[in-house]
């Protein structure tokens, strides 16, 4: 079985996003970019599945500009076997990403697709579900545990009131939650090997997928800033302020 993981190049987790002066988006020139943290978890899970003998090959797919190759190389350095880049300079929406992933799924026929539950840039939380709907494969989102049970999977999911578990037939689409695993660091020998692993680039135009949608960004603004309040001297003053000034207790 092949496992397909989708990895997205995003503004690094530790870098504060700054809105561009012309309000057209976020400043991404000359800032540190990294793999979306949820996608690192996806790669890790795929590798564990392979290491447990439940898969033969892990393929990392990214969709984005040519620099997304670095993100794929990161996945290859962690241990993925090969990479596919669908190259585009456009910022694509989850609907289009899901269609492009479907294109790869049709080509590669994996038994499992694992994607992050959301990307920390647009925070959409849509791609996995959309891919599942488009392929007709079972969907297991927000996974915090994945277990193989014959040709099905038992997936523990993080829901608002706790955890629930579902059984899904394969092939399936899984989206990862934070506590699914702790991604490994790439080993130096694997970083070196990653360079020689195959990485195929497909221009987005060759997929035949339309990349425009009816949804457009009008503008991007800074959020309203909350002002710092007062520092109180002790607990009794805090209780007093909450009771008599803010009147919230």
């Amino acid at each position: 079985m092949k496992v397909l993981v989708a990895v997205k190049r995003v503004l690094d987790y530790n870098v504060k996003a700054r809105v561009k002066a012309d309000k057209s988006g976020i400043e991404l020139a000359n800032v540190k970019m990294s793999m979306n943290p949820f996608d690192e978890i996806a790669v890790e899970e795929a590798l564990r599945i392979k290491e447990a003998g439940n898969a033969e090959e892990v393929i990392a797919v990214s969709i984005g500009p040519s620099q997304s190759q670095e993100t794929i190389r990161t996945a290859l350095a962690m241990g993925a076997d090969r990479g596919i880049l669908i190259e585009t300079e456009e910022e694509l929406q989850p609907l289009v990403i899901a269609k492009l992933l479907k294109h790869v799924v049709e080509k590669e026929s994996p038994g499992l697709v694992i994607v992050g539950k959301q990307a920390i840039d647009d925070d959409s939380n849509q791609t996995g579900q959309m891919l599942s709907a488009m392929t007709g494969w079972a969907q297991a989102t927000f996974a915090s545990k994945v277990e193989f049970e014959g040709d099905a999977l038992k997936v523990t999911r993080e829901v608002d009131s706790g955890l629930e578990s579902i059984k899904v037939a394969m092939p399936a689409v899984i989206t990862t939650d934070l506590r699914l695993n702790e991604p490994r660091y790439a080993k130096l020998p694997n970083i070196m090997k990653a360079k020689k692993k195959p990485l195929e680039t497909i221009p987005v135009a060759d997929t035949g997928v339309t990349t425009t949608t009816g949804l457009s960004v009008v503008e991007v603004n800074e959020p309203e800033q909350r002002q710092a309040g007062v520092i109180v001297s002790d607990v009794s003053e805090l209780v007093d302020k909450l009771k008599n000034e803010a009147k919230v207790i």
């Binding site: 709907a133 915090s144 009131s161 909350r226 007062v230 919230v248």
Partner: protein, 311 residues
């Protein structure tokens, strides 16, 4: 044209989140239809029909809908989706699970987590953990949306008198089945709808110390939350997590204890009406958003606070 909302419910009652979604739908302006899908859910359908602003309730009752499986709910929505211009879900774990499927099947982009309705086709949604707000406009015939519940004041539970119509159930998916759940047991209000939230961070040092927060929560009828650091450290289960990748809350009072205030945490609570923070590090970023800050060791401050709330 009108707006369809997928109602959420559990234990025979609507989840509060649905009231917030109705409020968002009211702002969009069209007629509002509530879809209640469940198993043995007549009471929920009845309750739904009395919500202010709801003009019609569609009720589909079948075992397929018992456990909110996304495949089954999306299939059901698709049987009527073409009758609606807007299809709304709450931005809950359940709503987020279903919405993108519906959008994909309609071949339109999903619009996640809206915090503002500017017009029937223009919405505001947070991106980059709320570090930026994107205004997006849809030219599609159908707009499929999740609504950030904390951004819309809940609509009234009564005052409406919608008709209840039965909707034929769809077949259950054979690819997925529900096994079970481990829900956290708590007598406290639910985190996202509590009026007061008391949250602990890494500064709590271990799970045992969260009992000090429980004690205070008890006295304030508050829910207990946590930062990602506290959840990752295993102090409390994941459903306590407030933040970019956890729950978004906006209570009247949010008390942050031993939480430094990483941007990802602020993303989940900065819309709270009043924020109080207790931290021993006076440079902690949480103080930059707190209305009331107390620089103190939480192990001294919490017992005092607990006592102070008695008096």
């Amino acid at each position: 044209m009108s707006t369809l909302i997928l109602a959420e419910h559990e234990g025979g009652a609507l989840r509060p989140a649905t009231l917030n979604v109705v409020a968002a739908a009211t702002q969009i302006g069209n007629d509002v239809t509530l879809l209640v899908a469940g198993s043995g859910s007549d009471a929920v359908a009845q309750a739904a029909s009395s919500l202010a602003g709801v003009t019609k309730v569609l009720h589909a009752d079948d075992a397929a809908y018992e456990n909110e499986l996304a495949e089954n709910l999306a299939d059901l929505v698709m049987t009527i989706a073409n009758d609606y211009e807007h299809i709304l879900f709450a931005a809950t774990a359940s709503g987020k699970n279903v919405m993108p499927r519906v959008a994909a099947m309609l071949d339109v982009p999903g619009i996640s987590d809206i915090t503002e309705v500017q017009s029937a086709d223009t919405f505001v949604r947070p991106i980059y953990a709320g570090n930026a707000m994107a205004t997006v406009k849809s030219s599609d015939a159908r707009k499929v949306i999740t609504v950030r519940t904390t951004s819309f004041e809940a609509g009234a539970e009564t005052g409406g008198s919608a008709s209840v119509e039965t909707l034929a159930a769809t077949a259950a998916s054979e690819k997925v089945s529900f096994i079970g759940q481990e829900l956290s047991q708590s007598d406290r209000p639910e985190l996202t709808s509590a009026r007061v939230v008391v949250s602990g961070g890494r500064g709590m040092q271990d799970g045992e110390n969260f009992k000090m927060l429980d004690e205070i929560a008890e006295k304030l009828n508050a829910a207990v939350g946590a930062s990602r650091a506290a959840v990752d450290a295993g102090f409390v289960p994941n459903e306590y997590q407030v933040g970019q990748t956890g729950k978004v809350v906006a209570p009247d009072l949010y008390i942050a204890v031993g939480i430094s205030g990483a941007i990802q945490h602020l993303a989940g609570m900065k819309d709270s009406k009043v924020i109080a923070a207790i931290n021993k590090d006076e440079e902690a970023p949480i103080f930059q958003v707190a209305d009331y800050g107390l620089v103190a060791d939480l192990f001294d401050a919490l017992p005092e606070l607990s006592k102070g709330l008695d008096g």
